[in-house]
């Protein structure tokens, strides 16, 4: 059970859909980067309705809901082409915090996040490490009463607006998760735009002084928090890709039904019908896998099914969104029509979380045990 949405889930989906229809016109927001969106009315309303914190723990003031509800929200964002710091702040940083051991710093941050009072991000990726968040070179070392953190983190989402950055590093020869104030001296954020409108940054850490209470987790506890965050990220990315595909296919079908060439609507051509039917069948598989992964993650926050979902979402997303452009013909190439924005998004998500081979490999490794 769990493949057909409950009434409550349907209600969440309807609420988000109505809000996005009203507050987010993808065409007008074409140049809005994810970090810029955080100041707008939509972000505020999502927060006021408790949607941003819906999957954060109830004990911290969040909605206490599960992966299925998180997936619904991400899917809507994909469908409506929303660019937001949600993935960085609520999904990655929020999940890492939620799965870090309780403590004054962690509890306070989580409560602030759930209340919408703070924007966070998680910095894990490094050069020459692919997408392996367990290959960590950033180093925290003892320096008197405090720690000194040095390293370089790549492709950190929305670091330019985050008040705090969660950083994976090595401490006493074990992995650790620290939280660093973005205003710390020695921390430098070089922000840039990704091709899909995500705000990214390279984060340089040069002997940043960090106090001991900023250690959120160390050793296995740090890996537990990171694994959960990355699995939630993979599920969120898969869900958003699914939503993007649904948006792209829906618009493409609308076009096939009205565009006339050679004296008939082009949707009558069997060559196009069959291609559209294949896209539909692929999406049915992706829908099923995302729904199954939500159930698996509800039981085990680092379940390999999240990586399976993304490993399927990457090629399906690329295929569906490429076909959406192709079936629109010349107009599909234009920025004004915006159908190509779906392709940019799904491709960016797979750059952020790894390609099909990477995620498929992670999933396959979980079948081994």
């Amino acid at each position: 059970m769990g493949f057909i949405p409950t009434e409550e889930q349907q209600l969440i989906d309807d609420t988000v859909a109505r809000l996005l229809d009203k507050q987010w016109d993808p065409r007008r927001e074409m140049n809005t980067q994810s970090s810029q969106m955080a100041g707008g009315t939509l972000w505020k309303e999502l927060n006021e309705l408790g949607l941003l914190g819906l999957a954060l723990p109830e004990s911290a003031g969040g909605g206490g809901m599960g992966p299925a509800e998180l997936s619904i929200l991400c899917r809507r964002f994909g469908r409506h082409q929303v660019r937001a710091p949600f993935l960085a702040s609520q999904v990655l940083a929020g999940t890492a915090l939620a799965h870090a051991p309780a403590g004054p710093k962690r509890d306070a941050l989580l409560a602030q996040l759930a209340g919408g009072a703070v924007t966070l991000t998680l910095a894990t990726l490094e050069s020459d490490a692919g997408y392996d968040h367990r290959l960590i070179e950033a180093q925290a070392s003892r320096a008197g009463d405090s720690l000194s953190l040095s390293g370089c983190k790549r492709a950190v989402m929305d670091a330019g607006i985050a008040e705090h950055v969660l950083v994976s590093c090595r401490l006493d020869d074990a992995p650790a998760l620290l939280v660093v104030d973005a205003a710390s001296s020695g921390l430098r954020v070089e922000s840039y735009a990704a091709f899909d409108g995500t705000s990214l940054a390279t984060v340089y850490l040069d002997a940043v002084a960090v106090s001991d209470d900023a250690i959120l987790a160390r050793g296995d506890a740090a890996l537990t928090a990171l694994d959960a965050a990355l699995a939630a990220g993979a599920l969120a990315a898969a869900s958003e890709t699914l939503g993007a595909c649904e948006g792209a296919l829906e618009r493409t079908l609308d076009y096939l039904r009205i565009r006339e060439q050679f004296g008939t609507v082009i949707g009558r051509f069997q060559a196009l019908q069959h291609r559209a039917a294949d896209l539909h069948a692929e999406l049915e598989m992706l829908r099923s896998l995302v729904a199954g992964a939500c159930q698996s993650l509800a039981e085990n926050p680092a379940h390999g099914d999240a990586y399976a979902a993304l490993a399927l979402a990457v090629p399906v997303g690329d295929h569906v969104c490429r076909e959406a452009i192709q079936m629109h013909g010349g107009i599909g190439m234009t920025q004004e029509l915006g159908i190509g924005r779906y392709l940019l998004r799904v491709n960016a998500l797979s750059r952020l979380f790894g390609d099909a081979a990477h995620n498929g490999g992670l999933y396959l490794a979980t079948l081994e045990v």
């Binding site: 057909i4 069959h274 049915e284 992706l286 399976a308 498929g360």
Partner: protein, 397 residues
């Protein structure tokens, strides 16, 4: 609808696995692992064991030897049986004829045919397709002309699976040529030993004998062997296809084959190590594993639709398309991983010890499954027909 608890489901699966482990002979278990068919005698013997256990036709009502289990429990049963490597139930008897008789047959017809179908005293085959009626089944032309209390049948059926084994056939025949093609079809039960029935084998391109052409030359069929009213056979047949829709995903089969692929890839080596570790093969296997998982969840989603809405509608077309494609892709990978070990013809495997033909893992008969699976992309609505259905009924094109 009562939902099984996790513990209940676990215990039930364990019970099935134990039954299969103790009751399926080694010879058959190996055949199943190799993706081959059980023989006629093996199939009948296995079915009788299931009947003795009370599991002969789990989706039939208890009154006729079934179980009255919930949809979910039946699904778990079928899934676990397939995963455990048990031979499939003879679909024509248990999954097609049985449900039709139960829904449309008279009490007398049920009494006469259900017990023998359950116990495999009669092997049933399905007479639908004809030489000129394939994907367009309703254009079938085999004529049944009323002659007193009999019909006289003339025509031919084609692609009839296991007709060479069959004692009886359920078939569609044309009883009225004057009306819209779907309105002039009747559903008959026909004794394959009747005068005028002849069966010609049609070999698959790779040599297997599963399919046949069945010719009718003035075959007499008593009117009381008609199911339902005259000219209502199309409705009956369509309902029959509905019973089978979830099974078209072949998800348990895909999972079993994925296990074979993993084992073979780990056992087979080249100079740099096992094929499983070779990056391109690892990525390919990972992608297949992901797709098989998606198929498993899609099938469970279909089950949930069945439980909640009583039907899965056009979702079945996606299940069919992807189920066949994913099974084919796993088979293709198995054949690639087998390398030269996969070259031997089935007859060579029949005649030689394995080590003559295989250096690595067990690659016996790998080609057969791969070529067999071209068939389901064509049967019961070809891939192209499934795409037409999706385009029309879901995409509104």
């Amino acid at each position: 609808m009562s939902i099984m608890s996790r513990q209940e489901e676990g215990r039930f699966r364990e019970e099935i696995r134990e039954f299969v482990a103790s009751e399926v002979p080694e010879q058959i278990r190996l055949k199943m692992a190799q993706g081959r068919d059980a023989s006629r005698a093996e199939t009948i013997a296995w079915q009788r064991k299931l009947v003795a256990q009370g599991w002969g036709a789990v989706h039939w009502p208890k009154r006729w030897g079934g179980t009255d289990w919930s949809l979910e429990k039946r699904f778990v049963f079928e899934e676990e049986m397939a995963l455990a490597g048990a031979p499939g139930v003879p679909a024509f008897n248990m999954r097609m004829l049985g449900p039709i008789l139960l829904e449309y047959g008279t009490e007398a017809q049920k009494e006469r045919f259900l017990p023998g179908a359950l116990n495999m005293d009669q092997w049933w085959c399905q007479g639908y397709s004809e030489p000129s009626a394939g994907s367009d089944l309703a254009s079938l032309r085999t004529r049944a002309v009323r002659d007193g209390d009999h019909y006289r049948i003339n025509g031919a059926k084609i692609w009839t699976s296991y007709a060479q084994y069959a004692d009886w056939m359920f078939c569609l025949v044309r009883t009225n040529t004057e009306v819209k093609k779907q309105k002039g079809i009747s559903f008959l039960l026909l004794d394959m030993r009747s005068d005028g029935v002849s069966v010609e084998p049609i070999r698959h391109f790779y040599g297997a004998h599963i399919l046949n052409q069945v010719n009718f030359d003035d075959v007499r069929v008593p009117v009381d062997q008609r199911i339902g009213e005259e000219n209502t056979g199309w409705t009956t047949a369509k309902a029959l296809l509905e019973h089978e829709r979830l099974a078209t995903s072949r998800h348990a089969e895909a999972r079993r084959k994925l296990g074979r692929l993993l084992a073979l890839a780990k056992a087979n080596r080249d100079r740099s190590g096992s094929l499983y570790e070779r990056p391109d093969m690892h990525a390919r296997i990972a992608h297949l594993a992901v797709q098989v998982k998606a198929l498993e969840y899609a099938t469970r989603r279909g089950l949930e639709m069945l439980i909640q809405d009583g039907r899965i509608g056009v979702f079945a077309s996606s299940l069919n398309l992807k189920g066949v494609a994913i099974n084919q892709a796993v088979d293709e990978a198995i054949l690639d991983v087998a390398g030269i070990d996969g070259l031997a013809a089935d007859s060579a495997y029949d005649e030689h010890p394995r080590d003559v033909l295989n250096a690595g893992g067990d690659a016996r008969y790998v080609a057969e499954s791969r070529y067999y699976l071209r068939g389901p992309a064509i049967a019961a609505g070809s891939n192209e027909v499934q795409r037409n259905i999706i385009a029309k009924h879901v995409l509104d094109l």
